[in-house]
C-alpha cells in the first residue's frame, strides 16, 4: 500500500471518526446510564441534518450557526421521547423493549420525514462543502476539518460537563452503578432524562456534518444506526473512551481496506472485525467485565 493512502486513511479516520465519535458518545451515554439501546439515534441524526438543511434553505442561516437552533431543538425532542416512552419501560425486558420502542419512534419519524421531504436525496450546501486547502502536501476538505473542530469542541464540552461539574459526577456515578447511585441520593430518573436529552442533542451537530458530507434521505438512518451500534459495542457499551477509539478505528479500517482491496468490502470488514473482537473479548475493547454474580 502506498504511503499516501495510509496518510489519507489516518487523516480521514481522525477527522470523520471524531464526528462518529460524537454521535456514538450520545448512544453509549444513554445505554450506560439507562440500559436503553436507542435505535432512534440514526433517525435523530437524519432529523438534525434535515433541520440544518431547512434552516439554511429558508432562513439563509449558515449550518454551523444554525446549530444554536438545532441542538436545543433535538435536546427537547430527546426529553419528550424519554418522558413519553422511555420512562415507562421497566422490568427485566427493559433493554429489549427499549430497542423495539425506539425503533417504533424511528419508524414514526422516518415516515413523517418521507412525507414531508420525499425520498429524494438532499445534501447541505455551503461554501466550505466542496472546497479544500492544501497543507504539507495533503488536501484537506474544509467541511471535514470544520466538522472535526466542531466534534472536538463538543466532545470537550461534554467531557467538562461530565468530569468538572456536580451534575457530571451524578452521571458518572449512574454509569458506574445505577443502584449504588440511587442509594447515595442521586436522582437517577432526572439524570437519565437529561442524559437522553444530551445524547440526542449531539446528533444535531453530527447530523449537520453528516448532511454536508453525504447526500441523505430518511432511510440513511439504517446505515447510520448499524455503524453507531457496532461502534459502541466494539468500544464496550457504556464506555465513552471506547466509543472514540472505535469510531476512529472504524473509519481508518474502512479507508485502508477500500484502498488496498476494494471499497465494496470495506464496510463488511468492519463488521467482521467486530465479530472477531467480540468472540475474543465479549465485553468489547474497553467494556467493564461484570463479575458473574454481581
Amino acid at each position: 500500500m502506498s504511503g499516501s493512502a495510509l496518510t489519507y486513511a489516518i487523516i480521514d479516520g481522525v477527522l470523520t471518526g471524531s464526528v462518529y465519535a460524537l454521535m456514538a458518545t450520545g448512544l453509549t451515554l444513554i445505554f450506560g446510564v439507562m440500559d436503553i439501546i436507542n435505535i432512534a439515534q440514526g433517525i435523530f441524526v437524519v432529523l438534525g441534518a434535515y433541520l440544518s438543511y431547512e434552516i439554511q434553505l429558508h432562513w439563509g442561516i449558515d449550518p454551523f450557526v444554525g446549530l444554536l437552533i438545532t441542538i436545543p431543538t433535538l435536546f427537547v425532542v430527546g426529553i419528550v421521547v424519554e418522558r413519553a416512552f422511555m420512562s415507562r419501560l421497566k422490568g427485566p425486558e427493559k433493554t429489549a423493549m427499549s430497542i423495539l420502542v425506539t425503533y417504533a419512534v424511528s419508524l414514526l419519524i422516518e415516515g413523517s420525514l418521507n412525507m414531508i421531504f420525499s425520498v429524494n436525496d438532499v445534501q447541505i450546501n455551503a461554501w466550505y462543502v466542496n472546497r479544500s486547502f492544501k497543507l504539507f502536501g495533503v488536501y484537506f476538505a474544509y467541511i471535514y476539518v470544520f466538522g472535526f473542530i466542531l466534534a472536538v469542541v463538543l466532545l470537550t464540552a461534554l467531557w467538562a460537563l461530565l468530569y468538572r461539574t456536580r451534575f457530571g459526577a451524578s452521571v458518572r456515578a449512574s454509569l458506574a452503578d445505577q443502584t449504588a447511585a440511587a442509594l447515595i441520593g442521586i436522582n437517577v430518573r432526572r439524570v437519565a432524562t437529561i442524559c437522553f436529552g444530551i445524547g440526542t442533542a449531539v446528533t444535531a451537530a453530527g447530523g449537520m456534518v453528516f448532511g454536508a458530507t453525504n447526500a441523505f434521505n430518511a432511510s440513511s438512518s439504517y446505515d447510520l444506526i448499524s455503524r453507531l451500534l457496532t461502534i459502541i459495542v466494539l468500544g464496550g457499551m457504556g464506555s465513552l473512551g471506547g466509543a472514540l477509539v472505535a469510531s476512529i478505528g472504524m473509519v481508518m479500517l474502512e479507508d485502508v481496506v477500500g484502498v488496498v482491496w476494494s471499497p465494496v468490502w470495506s464496510t463488511m470488514t468492519f463488521f467482521i472485525v467486530l465479530v472477531i473482537v467480540l468472540s475474543l473479548r465479549p465485553q468489547g475493547l474497553f467494556g467493564k467485565q461484570l463479575a458473574r454474580t454481581a
Binding site: 449504588a180 463479575a291 458473574r292 454474580t293 454481581a294
Partner: protein
C-alpha cells in the same frame, strides 16, 4: 479427611485484592461457619468454590479431587450446592418449576429436548422437599410473588433437589424474621443429621455460634482464625478485624 479444602486461593478484581492466599478446610458431616467484616472476601470465596469466579492462584479440592476452574454447572453436578446472599430464583416460573430446573439427571441435550418437563417421581421429590421447608402449599404460585423469607426457603429447597453433599449458604438468616431464622436453623440441623455438610456465611453471630462446629474468620481476603466457636469468640484478633474494618459501609452499599 476434609470433604472440601481450599488452599492458597487468591483473586484480584482490577486493583482490589478480594482474596489473598486464603485457605480453608471443611470436615465431612460438619457445619462450618464463615464470618468476617464486609468486603473480607466471603462471597468471593463462595464464588471461587462454586465456579462463578476463577481463582488467580490456589486450588479447591472436593473429596481430594481438584475442582479448581470447573464451571458452575459442573461443580453443582459433583454435589456442591449453594444459595445466594440476595436470593436468586426464577421469578416468572412457578415454585414447582423452579424446583424442576434443578432436577437434572446426567443426560444428553437431545434427551432434554424430547423429554417432558418432569416425571411423576421428580415432581413428588420436588413436592417433598417443598414440604420439608414448609412451602409445599405454594407450589403452583409464580415464584415472583413469594415473600423474601419464602424465597430463601425455596432457594434452600431447590439446592437440595440434586442431593448435594456439601451445601454453601450465603447469609441464610439475612433479612428474615426470628421465627424463620429458627426454622432455617432447624432445617440445617436436620439435614446435617442426615450427613450433609454445610459451609455458611452469616452476619448473625448468634446463629453462627449456636449452629456451627467450627468457625473461620476472614479478614482482607485471607483466613485469619479458625476454631471452635468459643475460641474464635475469645480471640483478640477477631475483634480487631471487625473494628478496623474502615470503609465497610461503602462496600456494603456497593454490594461487596
Amino acid at each position: 479427611m476434609p470433604i472440601l479444602s481450599v488452599s492458597g486461593v487468591s483473586r484480584a478484581f482490577g486493583g482490589v485484592q478480594a482474596l489473598q492466599d486464603c485457605s480453608l478446610e471443611v470436615a465431612e458431616g460438619s457445619i462450618a461457619g464463615l464470618i468476617g467484616p464486609n468486603g473480607s472476601g466471603k462471597t468471593t470465596l463462595f464464588n471461587v468454590v462454586t465456579g462463578y469466579v476463577r481463582a488467580d492462584q490456589g486450588t479447591v479440592r472436593f473429596r481430594e479431587k481438584e475442582i479448581t476452574g470447573l464451571k458452575p454447572n459442573q461443580v453443582f453436578a459433583l454435589g456442591i450446592g449453594r444459595t445466594f446472599q440476595l436470593t436468586r430464583i426464577f421469578e416468572r416460573l412457578s415454585v414447582l418449576e423452579n424446583m424442576l430446573v434443578a432436577t437434572q439427571r446426567r443426560e444428553g441435550w437431545l434427551r432434554g429436548l424430547t423429554r417432558s418437563k418432569s416425571s411423576p417421581e421428580e415432581v413428588s421429590t420436588a413436592l417433598e422437599l417443598l414440604d420439608f421447608v414448609g412451602i409445599a402449599g405454594l407450589a403452583e404460585l409464580q415464584a415472583g410473588a413469594l415473600s423474601y423469607g419464602q424465597r430463601k426457603l425455596l432457594e434452600l429447597a431447590y439446592v437440595l433437589v440434586a442431593d448435594p453433599q456439601v451445601i454453601l449458604l450465603d447469609e441464610p438468616a439475612g433479612g428474615v424474621n426470628l421465627t424463620l431464622i429458627n426454622r432455617i436453623a432447624e432445617k440445617i440441623r436436620a439435614l446435617n443429621a442426615q450427613g450433609k455438610t454445610f459451609l455458611i456465611v452469616e452476619h448473625n453471630m448468634e446463629f453462627v455460634m449456636s449452629l456451627c462446629d467450627r468457625v473461620t474468620v476472614m479478614h482482607q481476603g485471607s483466613d485469619l482464625v479458625s476454631g471452635a466457636p468459643e475460641e474464635v469468640r475469645r480471640d483478640p484478633r477477631v475483634l480487631d478485624a471487625y473494628l478496623g474494618g474502615g470503609d465497610d459501609e461503602l462496600e456494603e452499599v456497593a454490594g461487596g
